[in-house]
């Protein structure tokens, strides 16, 4: 067992790495601080064929999650236009952060409340939500699990959930997959008969009750609820020394 202290952010990063297990040679495109660290951890350990972005216009081989210099190892050029070729071709697994998500994985980050003509709160817009979710595997990252984010009904469906996908012609929905939702408290998936969101594991030290309380709808609860795995010594070393030497993941996810 490790003699290093294990923080909640380490557990989250490992859970985010695990979403890419088995993906093989695709573009892992986790957007955000801890997702980017998790994706790089997956590639540095059990999923070496993944390609990853520099958050700009190239895909790079560097294990470090940020702060690359001119010596970064560029594998290919991937400007925004190429990203659409890649994502519509399906060789991508994206991680986005919802403002709202519902029991079937419908996701909103466009607007809250009001009307189409006059939203109460204008957020980003549809961005790439519709295209990502209908074209390839999608997962979500929620750095602060709360009933404001996990809601019975989202105000605007940007990312397509399982009930919406099921209502489509099967051929149209054949590339749709919402794999997992990772939060600061737990891991959720849709491995139920009707694809209703299920509590897949709670992070060490988190009670099932705490997750239920912070979720604005009824979760499917397995009996017993597993506990999210801890990082290995090697994973901790990689994160601390190579991938995230500045410890940026701890700024996003604090210890309880």
């Amino acid at each position: 067992m490790s003699e290093q202290t294990i923080h909640r952010a380490d557990v989250c990063a490992v859970a985010l790495a695990e979403i890419f297990r088995g993906d093989g040679e695709i573009l892992a495109n986790p957007i955000g601080t801890t997702p980017m660290i998790g994706g790089r951890l997956a590639r540095a350990t059990f999923e070496p064929e993944l390609m990853m972005t520099d958050s700009e216009a190239t895909l790079i081989a560097d294990d470090r999650a940020y702060g690359w210099g001119d010596d970064k190892v560029v594998e290919t050029w991937n400007p925004y236009r190429r990203m659409f070729d890649l994502l519509w071709g399906g060789r991508r697994h994206v991680v986005m952060t919802p403002v709202q998500i519902d029991p079937f994985g419908n996701m909103n980050f466009a607007a809250i409340g009001g009307t189409v003509d006059r939203p109460k709160v204008q957020l980003l817009g549809f961005r790439g939500g519709p295209g990502n979710t209908i074209s390839h595997t999608t997962s979500y990252w929620v750095p602060k699990h709360s009933a404001k984010t996990f809601v019975e009904t989202v105000d605007v469906v940007c990312g397509v959930g399982y009930d919406r996908a099921a209502a489509l012609n099967p051929a149209s929905a054949r590339f749709h997959e919402i794999r997992r939702v990772v939060t600061d408290l737990c891991v959720l998936d849709f491995a139920t008969e009707d694809h209703r969101m299920r509590l897949a594991s709670v992070h060490p030290g988190v009670s099932v009750g705490a997750v239920v309380e912070a979720t604005g709808f009824e979760l499917v609860l397995p009996e017993p609820v597993p506990v999210t795995r801890l990082p290995t010594d090697d994973e901790l070393r990689l994160m601390n020394e190579v991938i995230d030497p500045e410890g940026r993941r701890h700024a996003e996810v604090a210890d309880p």
Partner: protein, 296 residues
């Protein structure tokens, strides 16, 4: 050979109230801000603005120039949500035509190729279909691979532009131009989707055609040719306060100062008086230099 060079103020005489105008760049990156500033000096309004949006959209909204924004997102990058755009939407003063960003690409491509729509799976099952009534559906004339019913796809209608404003790193007087940064964005598509007469390219630097390829660094970067361009504006630092890599990065302090003015009408008016109602682009650039000198 025609010399298409003109000043920013001369270039925007090509624009009229009520037009649909595409603006190049992405978020706070390589925005044709010298042309936006020139547009802000006119009395043109009632515009429909199509943009991978940044401060271009926010400034035009705040100045009351915009009837409708065609967008997939509007962001200042480091400041994720554009406050002036949000204020306009939340007060109901600016209408929206919303797209997924890939649909936006297809809408421009359809216009550029002069087809009524392009098919895609993007949008199926999402609320973008309800938010944007221009989006339609079309049934594939071909069987599905698994033998099930033919696929229904989204038909993204052509987004025909009356004008397009874009900024590049280098160009010539004829209207050929190149980007030397990491990403072409969608600027060339904006130009191809726009009507003849309204296609305006500003560049950091105008060079003789014989020096264009060597200045650009290689021919792959010569994204824009003169068939796509009606007017050329030499505008050094013309994307300021947005970035124009590799020539300069985003002036984050200037973007933050602009964003902060969304808090009150007075703050916006003061910003407008200080930066946007100067007599011409040269005066703006002098003010930027003076401010930089003070900061140093």
């Amino acid at each position: 050979m025609a010399d298409k060079r003109c000043s920013p103020d001369e270039a925007v005489t090509r624009l009229k109230s009520g037009m649909t105008i595409g603006i190049g760049g992405w978020g706070a990156r390589r925005k044709p801000m010298s042309l936006i500033r020139a547009l802000l000096r006119t009395d043109i309004d009632d515009l429909t603005i199509a943009s991978f949006g940044g401060p271009d959209v926010g400034m035009l909204c705040a100045a009351g120039k915009v009837a409708k924004v065609v967008f997939a997102f509007v962001s200042l990058d480091a400041i994720p949500l554009e406050p002036h755009f949000r204020a306009a939407r939340q007060s109901g003063t600016v209408a929206a035509e919303e797209y997924d960003e890939g649909q936006f690409l297809l809408a421009l491509q359809a216009a550029a190729w002069r087809v009524p729509f392009l098919p895609t799976r993007v949008g199926l099952g999402s609320d973008v279909m309800a938010h944007n009534p221009r989006l339609g559906t079309v049934t594939s004339p071909f069987p599905s691979p698994d033998g099930s019913a033919a696929e229904e796809l989204v038909a993204v209608p052509a987004l025909e532009l009356d004008a397009a404003l874009v900024h590049y790193n280098v160009g010539d007087a004829r209207g050929n131009a190149a980007y030397t940064g990491p990403d072409p964005y969608f600027d060339d598509l904006m130009l191809e989707a726009a009507s003849t007469g309204g296609r305006i390219v500003s560049v950091e630097n105008v060079v003789p055609t014989a020096e264009l390829r060597s200045t650009a660094g290689c021919e792959h970067r010569l994204r824009v040719n003169r068939l796509m361009v009606d007017a050329v504006v030499e505008a050094p630092n013309g994307a300021h306060p947005t970035s124009c890599d590799p020539d300069y990065g985003t002036d984050e302090a200037a973007v933050a100062a602009y964003a902060a003015t969304a808090k009150s009408p007075d703050a916006w008016q003061a910003y407008r008086d200080a930066w946007l109602t100067l007599p011409d682009e040269a005066a703006y650039q002098s003010a930027v230099q003076a401010k930089g000198a003070v900061a140093r």
